[in-house]
């Protein structure tokens, strides 16, 4: 043994042993130990209201005489067959489609711009996230002021440029839904922009070079280099935006109140109207459950998508090291 080293030979330290230790649990036991209390806590908060609402959806509630009466599926039937429900669903679909299209266009366009190198890029990167920090209700206020016929920016500019000669109502019957959708897209797009940008930045530089050597134009490069990479993330952003748009409430509340008339009455607004304005608790609950069903379907899609994508990337297994299962 060299004289310079005084490292003791092996195994000389006493080994402390505790009677109970988290190490004696296997992955499943430890996993449940960490997660279950929180899950039960959340369930305790949400559980009763949820069951109560389910119960309500099968009853007619008479507020004046404080009576409830079991009516079976009648609330659901009434909801599903009422013309206002059909209208609300169609508005929801219309609105959701618009928000999704606008938001994806902004997200992809913005990401492509931010993927270029230019002076001031880091500042622009920091600025574009701003709308995401603005709450939906504040977004609604902001855009209501932009659209306002009396003092809105858009009217001010258009009047000055002489495009129009008297104030224009952006939140009129025909334009209300797209106008609100643009406001929503403004708020929601930055997150997608960051996500798409992150994907763009992993595209290998050599692939662009190859595309240039192969004489692909800008469109060709987008189609054959960029698009294959952003296809999956784009789909995920799309589903996410879809869910967000389908559950919209704050923006409608502040910007249109479901109007003019009922042109912007989405499903969420319909629930609010039936429940709060008309005090039809049973039918309101039934509508609420239909809404939950709708968003759950979209979310399930989202979830499956994430898992499907994970399988596409075999390298991205679960990160945790397999730890000992000591029974």
């Amino acid at each position: 043994m060299a004289t310079t080293v005084e490292l003791a030979p092996a195994g000389s330290q006493p080994i402390p042993r505790s009677s109970w230790s988290s190490s004696r649990l296997n992955d499943t036991q430890f996993g449940w130990l960490l997660t279950l209390p929180v899950f039960l806590g959340l369930l305790a908060i949400v559980g009763y209201p949820t069951l109560y609402s389910l119960w309500l959806s099968f009853h007619r509630v008479d507020l004046i005489f404080k009576r409830t009466e079991y009516v079976g599926w009648q609330n659901y039937q009434a909801a599903l067959t009422s013309p206002t429900f059909v209208h609300a669903v169609s508005i929801t679909v219309y609105y959701t489609a618009l928000v999704t299209i606008f938001a994806l266009a902004i997200a992809v366009g913005g990401a492509l711009i931010l993927n270029e190198k230019f002076r001031g890029r880091s500042l622009v990167l920091a600025i574009v996230i701003l709308p995401w920090a603005v709450s939906l209700y504040a977004t609604a206020i902001v855009w209501k002021f932009l659209y306002s016929p009396e003092w809105g920016l858009f009217n001010a500019v258009l009047l000055r440029l002489g495009v129009i000669d008297r104030p224009f109502n952006f939140l009129s019957e025909h334009l209300a839904v797209p106008a609100v959708a643009i406001a929503h897209a403004w708020q929601i797009a930055p997150l997608g922009m960051y996500f798409v940008l992150a994907t763009l930045q992993v595209i290998p530089e050599d692939l662009y070079k190859t595309a240039k050597v192969d004489r692909l134009g800008s469109w060709g490069r987008f189609r054959h280099v960029v698009f294959p990479y952003i296809k999956a993330p784009l789909l995920i952003v799309m589903v996410l935006v879809t869910v967000e748009a389908a559950r919209v409430f704050d923006i409608i509340f502040f910007m249109t109140g479901g109007g003019p008339g009922d042109v912007s009455t989405t499903l969420t607004w319909e629930v609010y109207r039936v429940f709060y304005r008309n005090n039809q608790y049973g039918q309101g609950s039934a509508l609420g459950w239909l809404l939950v069903l709708l968003t759950t379907i979209i979310t399930t899609l989202y979830f499956l998508l994430l898992f499907w994508r994970r399988r596409e990337r075999p390298d991205a297994g679960i990160a945790g090291t397999a730890l000992p299962s000591v029974e």
């Binding site: 960490l34 929180v38 209201p49 711009i113 622009v124 003092w151």
Partner: protein, 286 residues
């Protein structure tokens, strides 16, 4: 400079304009006296800027352009109370959420255990619930058990929003740490639990910081629950207070000032954390 370079700069400028102009307009309004604001044609920038819309929110009076004294804004006390409640609720909820969520996120991000997929699904589903659908039973329940219009009631409900969110984001963050971290920590003499709080947590500080900020923002920005569970009460947070302001009276410039105040904290957080937010995968943590 090539045509392409010019195009890039033009497009980047458009992106900035698109992002900032709406907020600029709000700021513009908030810095005008009402008389200037009502001018025709509308002014595109304040010719006689004033901070009176802000100062009058916090108990001061101001001298208007014509020399007339402008009183304290009538809703000032409601707004102040809302601000205070927003801060309190957001701080409490954020603290509790972070404490409770991190172990859950750790388990979901790094342990391959039976039931994990189901839990992830439960979380993502709860994240997508339209608040309006879940609010109905909460309103009925809260009025029965006396939680309607209380801070406690709001905190409880907010936890059901923030915990799934934080768990979702931090699950992704924990999963992105190198695979061998726990193994190294264990071999270094730590139990499973010690490996989590002695090694994983300190390592994850950047992710935890940004997630805390996001959690705070979500509470701060929440409108629907506060509107239905606390509007008009002592516990009402800023957003419903703003709603009252927005719908009841026609004071657009003062309204704009309040909105700017509501936007500043989350905007500041987003600006501070923007590079981390970019690195954090908020959309697909799996």
């Amino acid at each position: 400079m090539s045509a392409r370079r010019i195009l890039v700069y033009v497009l980047a400028a458009l992106l900035v304009i698109w992002t900032l102009v709406p907020i600029y307009w709000l700021l513009n309004m908030s810095l005008m006296f009402k008389t200037e604001f009502l001018a025709v044609p509308t002014h595109l920038y304040p010719h006689g800027p004033t901070i009176s819309n802000y100062s009058r929110l916090f108990g001061a009076t101001a001298i208007g352009p014509g020399g007339a004294e402008l009183p304290v804004i009538g809703q000032a006390s409601i707004i102040q109370n809302g601000l205070r409640n927003s801060v309190i609720v957001a701080l409490i909820v954020t603290a509790v959420t972070m404490l409770v969520s991190l172990p859950v996120a750790y388990a979901l991000g790094r342990l391959d255990f039976r039931g994990r997929t189901a839990m992830l699904f439960a979380i993502i589903t709860s994240r997508s619930y339209p608040p309006i659908a879940i609010i109905i039973p909460f309103v009925l329940l809260y009025s029965q058990i006396g939680l309607q219009g209380t801070t406690r009631g709001l905190v409880l409900v907010y936890l059901t929003l923030t915990i799934p969110l934080v768990v979702w984001v931090m699950t992704g963050f924990f999963a992105s740490l190198p695979r061998t971290v726990e193994a190294a920590a264990r071999v270094d003499g730590n139990t499973r639990w010690q490996a989590f709080y002695r090694v994983i947590l300190p390592m994850s500080w950047p992710g935890i910081a940004v997630t805390t900020a996001i959690c705070f923002m979500v509470c701060w920005n929440e409108f629907a629950f506060s509107q239905f569970l606390a509007a008009g009460s002592e516990a009402q947070t800023l957003p419903p207070a703003i709603a009252t302001f927005f719908f009841q009276i026609s004071q657009p410039t003062e309204m704009a000032a309040v909105s700017i105040i509501a936007i500043i904290p989350p905007a500041l957080l987003a600006y501070l954390f923007q590079s981390r937010i970019r690195n954090l995968n908020l959309v697909d943590p799996l």
